[in-house]
């Protein structure tokens, strides 16, 4: 195949993966918007959700296991709000961040206690033969995953724009004190944010699981979301999509054109290099709001 075609295939592959990063990043954004907290536990939640889904499938089938997992994740979410947030309310961001680290440790431990340490397959029955666009191969599962990721993001955007709770979330993000004054129920809204993050965890858990299998290391996928967050702007839902595309493309092209000359291994670093460049030149990300400090 020609260099050009190769480049195009690389680009498409990368961007599809990128959208799947966006989906993971979405979980962070949700909780960040609600409480300006960086939820380190998102990865653990993804792992927990995925393990629960595959753990239940043999007993109740796919559809039911999704439903039950959704309920479980809601419980986990409310639990998180109760045991991590309510007591830590008013502490500094750093302290709450550490709280989420502790919470992640609990989830990971629990996941392996309940579901064991062995990996599981999770197949969605999507044919794996590539889609041939001329010379360019495109993965069907990735296409579908990317599509779902995209839909999810749009759904979340609508949720923020249209629903009462969504608007509440935005109000709280802008000014928690004021929001409380006008009677927006902080705790409920936060719980909802966590629950939504839980749903995102299920989606990313299932889609990533179908790609790489469901296994403990899955929680590390979350790290891939961080560069996406920075580039997209931590408080921007739409931003994560674009950022995901950028990161995915950067990774794939970096690996294909730089990595190939120095023995590979640049993929993961690429994402962070791009993120750093953004921090240097556009600190608040593509869509994040810049802030002016008042005196």
């Amino acid at each position: 195949m020609g260099e050009l075609m190769f480049g195009i295939e690389l680009l498409i592959t990368g961007m599809l993966i990128g959208l799947m990063y966006s989906m993971v990043a979405l979980g962070f954004v949700l909780i960040y918007k609600a409480s300006s907290v960086f939820n380190f536990a998102q990865g653990a939640m993804t792992l927990f959700a995925a393990l629960t889904v595959v753990g239940l499938i043999p007993h109740v089938g796919f559809a039911w296991s999704l439903l039950i997992t959704a309920v479980v994740m809601c419980v986990v979410a409310v639990g998180a709000e109760r045991i991590v947030f309510r007591p830590l309310m008013g502490s500094t961001q750093l302290t709450i961040f550490m709280g989420t680290v502790g919470f992640a440790s609990i989830l990971e431990g629990a996941a392996q206690m309940i579901w064991g340490t062995r990996p599981h397959g999770l197949k969605l029955g999507i044919p794996h033969e590539p889609l041939m666009l001329g010379e360019v191969y495109v993965s069907k599962p990735d296409l579908i995953s990317a599509a779902i990721a995209g839909l999810l993001v749009i759904a979340i955007v609508l949720f923020f724009k249209r629903t009462k709770i969504g608007l509440g979330l935005r109000a709280i993000a802008d000014d928690p004190a004021a929001a409380q004054v006008v009677g927006i129920p902080l705790h409920r809204v936060w719980a909802v944010a966590w629950a939504l993050a839980g749903m995102v965890a299920i989606a990313s858990g299932v889609l990533w699981g179908s790609r790489i299998g469901v296994h403990f290391a899955m929680s590390l996928i979350a790290l891939k979301a961080l560069p996406v967050l920075i580039i997209g702007g931590i408080d921007s839902v739409a931003g994560v999509i674009v950022a995901g595309l950028i990161v995915g493309a950067a990774e794939a092209l970096g690996e294909g054109y730089i990595g190939t000359h120095i023995g590979g291994g640049v993929q993961d670093v690429m994402a962070y290099v791009v993120a750093l460049l953004f921090l240097m030149f556009k600190p608040s990300g593509l869509f994040g709001q810049a802030t002016i400090q008042r005196l």
Partner: protein, 436 residues
């Protein structure tokens, strides 16, 4: 000042906790019994394989105990969880210092970190098919051993296997071999070997490094299959990264049987998650899979019937489990020789000497009910193992099917490398430069 009360409460709690720990630190061996501490990884990303290996080892030891123990001594083990983390491994080692008879962390990074300690304390640290490839040289590394095929041996016999498929090493000329690997101690050790082999056979090789956890490999695979157009791909992955390539291979439409994984991707759990996608994939292995071996039957009948098994019986005969059994055999055999030669109670040095006396030839393996499970293992002061053959196996969706005979390494080449590397190490130690 109830706050302060609380402080006391915690102080007391900590006190109690510490006192419960203290005794563990002090080491002593009881009479008539062999204490055998074990490093285990039951939590975190590496627990999958480790739990199987641990189970195999413990079940085998239980079997030995039921049959009267080693020269009349029963073996009891104590576990130390280290999560495959180097600092925790060091802590474990120090916690059981003085009790160790043979250290088996099942982690190459841990072996590197432990090297200094075990050498000083004269305790043999083994890592089957891992660790330092040059520790095959028992004189330079008196307390390290790779036991079975070391990484260089693995590399050469894998190339030999490819040669077989091509119909002769001469046919390798001009072939393109892609090497996709984790970017660490383990993934990098074969580099120099591949260089030599490429020179010797006139093939071309290129490396694609992946940083742990390597859960996303698409770009590398597009590059390998669509631009580099490799004739064969050799994978040197571990843990969950073993299961990742199959979606990519399907997507880039690369022939599955031309992807050959290292033996560390050779367990059921490594390909299982990929489901049918992995059908027909090939990995190396240093032993046979399945449970048609008397020793495994015995474990099933005696140990598990008696309810003394340490895992789900379904795991018996799986690759990870069999590796545990083999490890158990090596350890027990070394202890037995140690007692025979130096008498009880055992210590690290005696067991090391016992290890150097191991002569698991077909006859002995047959006695142990493990004929054909592993190629013969015969060690000496000079040879701590590592020159052994590999067998190649193909995944049929449920189990591994052996598809090759035992393919020995290219011994002269590996020897040369081992000697060169060992010499370099000796010189560095002499000159006080950092030993690599």
């Amino acid at each position: 000042m109830n706050h302060a009360r609380q402080c006391w409460k915690w102080a007391v709690a900590a006190g109690i906790a510490i006192t419960t720990v203290a005794p563990i630190a002090s080491a002593q061996t009881y009479k008539g019994e062999i204490i055998h501490p074990m490093m285990v990884t039951r939590t975190g990303p590496f627990a999958t394989a480790s739990t199987g290996v641990i189970a195999g080892q413990q079940d085998y030891i239980t079997l030995v105990n039921m049959q009267g123990g080693v020269e009349g001594y029963k073996i009891t083990w104590e576990e130390c969880e280290f999560e495959y983390k180097v600092p925790r491994a060091l802590e474990c080692y120090d916690r059981f210092k003085g009790k160790w008879l043979m250290v088996y962390p099942n982690s190459t990074p841990a072996i590197f970190a432990l090297q200094e300690r075990v050498t000083k304390d004269e305790v043999l640290a083994i890592n089957l098919a891992g660790g330092r490839s040059d520790s095959t040289d028992g004189e330079t590394f008196p307390y390290l051993a790779p036991v079975v095929a070391n990484f260089w041996a693995q590399a050469t016999s894998t190339i030999k296997y490819i040669a077989q498929l091509e119909g002769g090493e001469s046919k390798l000329k001009g072939k393109k071999i892609a090497y996709i690997h984790l970017d660490n101690d383990y993934g990098r050790q074969p580099f120099p070997m591949f260089d030599d082999l490429a020179k010797a056979h006139g093939f071309e090789w290129k490396s694609w490094a992946l940083s742990w956890p390597a859960l996303e490999q698409s770009a590398a695979w597009v590059d390998i299959a669509r631009r580099y157009k490799a004739d064969y791909v050799i994978g040197w992955l571990y843990g969950q990264s073993c299961a990742v390539p199959y979606t990519e291979i399907a997507k880039v439409g690369y022939p599955m049987k031309k992807y050959i994984g290292s033996l560390w991707c050779g367990t059921e759990d490594d390909v299982g998650p990929a489901g049918t996608l992995a059908n027909g994939t090939v990995t190396a292995n240093y032993h046979a899979a399945g449970k048609n071996f008397p020793v495994l039957k015995e474990i099933e009948d005696k140990v598990y019937k008696a309810g003394k098994g340490t895992t789900d019986p379904a795991r018996i005969g799986t690759v990870a489990y069999n590796r545990g059994v083999i490890t158990g055999m090596v350890i027990v055999e070394a202890m037995r020789n140690g007692i025979k030669a130096h008498g009880a109670p055992l210590d690290g040095k005696k067991v090391r000497d016992g290890y150097r006396m191991i002569k698991l030839d077909d006859a002995r393996l047959a006695q142990l009910g493990a004929k054909g499970l592993v190629p013969p293992l015969v060690f000496s002061e000079k040879n701590h193992g590592g020159m052994d053959a590999q067998v190649f196996q193909s995944w049929d969706g449920k189990t591994w099917k052996t598809i090759s005979g035992w393919i020995p390494p290219n011994e002269p080449m590996v020897r040369a490398k081992v000697e060169a590397s060992a010499k370099a190490y000796r010189d560095q130690v002499k000159s006080g430069a950092p030993a690599k």
